[in-house]
Symmetry: C2
Subunit: 280 residues, 2 copies
DNA sequence: CAGGCATGCCTG
DNA sequence: CAGGCATGCCTG
């Protein structure tokens, strides 16, 4: 396997040709703690009003966020990964019909004349990371866009490091996300681009995060009322490069979710936590 | 006064510098029959379903139309205008706050990759005329866009000629019309660009013309219920280059409306028909 | 094709 | 900031 050594790269990886988590046509999205205990969480939040800038629903394991809002995401590790490790964030459409489509900003918002694009190197990237060390890459193979930042180990006494992410289109943007739900896939990678941990997160970018969260949770609860119980929904996956094991206790603040492809309104509660490992 | 002789022009008028109805920062929109009895009308229409492609409301004097639909507009004249006369269609924002803004397609829809722009000379023009002789101009002074077609006299025994117009964005297009109501100003011009007649028409480009017409008319009727009567709304105008005269009978199918600037929900029925003449 | 939801945004 | 409208689009 060929690796990309980011620590030596001066040209952006868009000009390189090494496989990374961003090179796949169908990127893996299953949660995988890996050997460094990589996972994410959200801090406490002011009571979510109808139009709060962002809110995270435990019940749905879903982030609701305004467009252009810097949203703090906590990245946990239990052991320090090797020096030169990076954190990558990449968006993927959730629905099988669209997974192969590259996620990018709509034409309106990627226009150079859009105020958000003044002095920005990646006007058409959906995800931005508020770090001076962030760099924006497009995989020449998959054409998928992502943002990469050097991974910083938690400060002493802390279990996580916080990064700020911005989402630069609405989920409803015509010609862009176009109302298609997305996931953000966060990967911890060594300096060669090898994946050492992965956490994905459903994100809804919208004008009223509070309202939409409440609506989602109401629907979700209705699904889970006694009279509508059932265990009919099978656990699905797309990647065949994974194996499966049972985890009895979630060792991290944000519990790894089941590898259920579309945790939509038909998803039912999964009794046992399931996590998946990349084949190594 | 300098004139543009379109019959001699081989370069598009975008490269000329003669005043025409499209050169003004604030184009006149008042209805004026002129000496050739220039006015417009709409043919009968299949019963307007919720999502009919287009429908014209007499009550509101307003056209409701789907984006991209070829909509037949009838142009009446009582006398033939001079040879070389043209018909121009230009869109203008209705609300005073926006009149000075140039109306054009949103960035999404003006993109070369948009299917509507294959082999089209004017991807960012809102109004298209379905005629092989149509040409698309941008006034170098006002930057306003318009489409021009040779004026064809009605066939013998007919009082009008029909032209097909398409509207290439939704009224709701973000970064484009952006939910700002517009008028289409149709002008009959001689070959030098001199205005010889003008008719403007409120147009709503939307996904459900039938529904939206019904909604508008319901609101309008509510305004006109006995208990909400009043004659408070004065006739306004912006241009000071006009004179005013009373016309006792509307000599054309579509009655010239009053020169009321915003025939919005507060407009009340005008008892006497008023028409206005350009100062010549 | 009508009913009605989804979702940005305006109004009080 | 919540209520609720406006408006594209999905569903039956
Ligand atoms: Zn966008
Ligand atoms: Zn548009």
């Amino acid at each position: 396997m060929v690796h990309t050594d980011y620590s030596k790269v001066s040209l952006p990886p868009v000009l390189t040709h090494q496989p990374t988590p961003a090179s796949c046509t169908l990127p893996a999205t299953n949660n995988w703690l890996g050997q460094y205990g990589f996972c994410i969480s959200f801090g406490p939040q002011e009571k979510p009003t109808k139009s709060t800038a962002w809110t995270y629903s435990e019940m749905k394991d879903k982030l609701y966020v305004n467009m252009g809002t810097a949203c703090p995401v906590r990245f946990h590790t239990t052991h320090p990964p090797p020096p030169g490790s990076v954190l990558r964030a990449m968006a993927v459409f959730t629905k099988p019909e669209y997974v192969k489509d590259v996620v990018k900003r709509c034409l309106n918002h990627s226009s150079p004349s859009d105020v958000t694009n003044e002095n920005h190197p990646a006007p058409d990237h959906l995800i931005r990371c508020e770090s001076p060390q962030a760099y924006y890459v497009m995989d020449s193979n998959s054409e998928r866009q992502s943002v990469i930042v050097p991974f910083e180990n938690p400060q002493v006494g802390m279990s996580y490091t916080t990064y700020l992410f911005k989402f630069m289109c609405l989920g409803s943007c015509v010609g862009g996300l176009n109302r298609r739900p997305i996931k953000i896939v966060f990967t911890l990678e060594n300096k060669c681009g090898l994946c050492m941990g992965r956490q994905s997160l459903e994100v809804r970018i919208c004008a009223c995060p509070g309202r939409d969260r409440r609506t989602d949770e109401k629907h979700f609860e209705r699904q889970h009322e006694p009279h509508s119980q059932g265990l009919g929904e099978a656990v699905k996956r797309t990647s065949n490069e994974i194996c499966q094991e049972f985890v009895t206790v979630a060792p991290a603040p944000k519990k790894p979710k089941s590898n259920n492809e579309d945790d939509e309104i038909f998803t039912i509660k999964v009794i046992m936590k399931i996590t998946m490992h990349d084949k190594t």
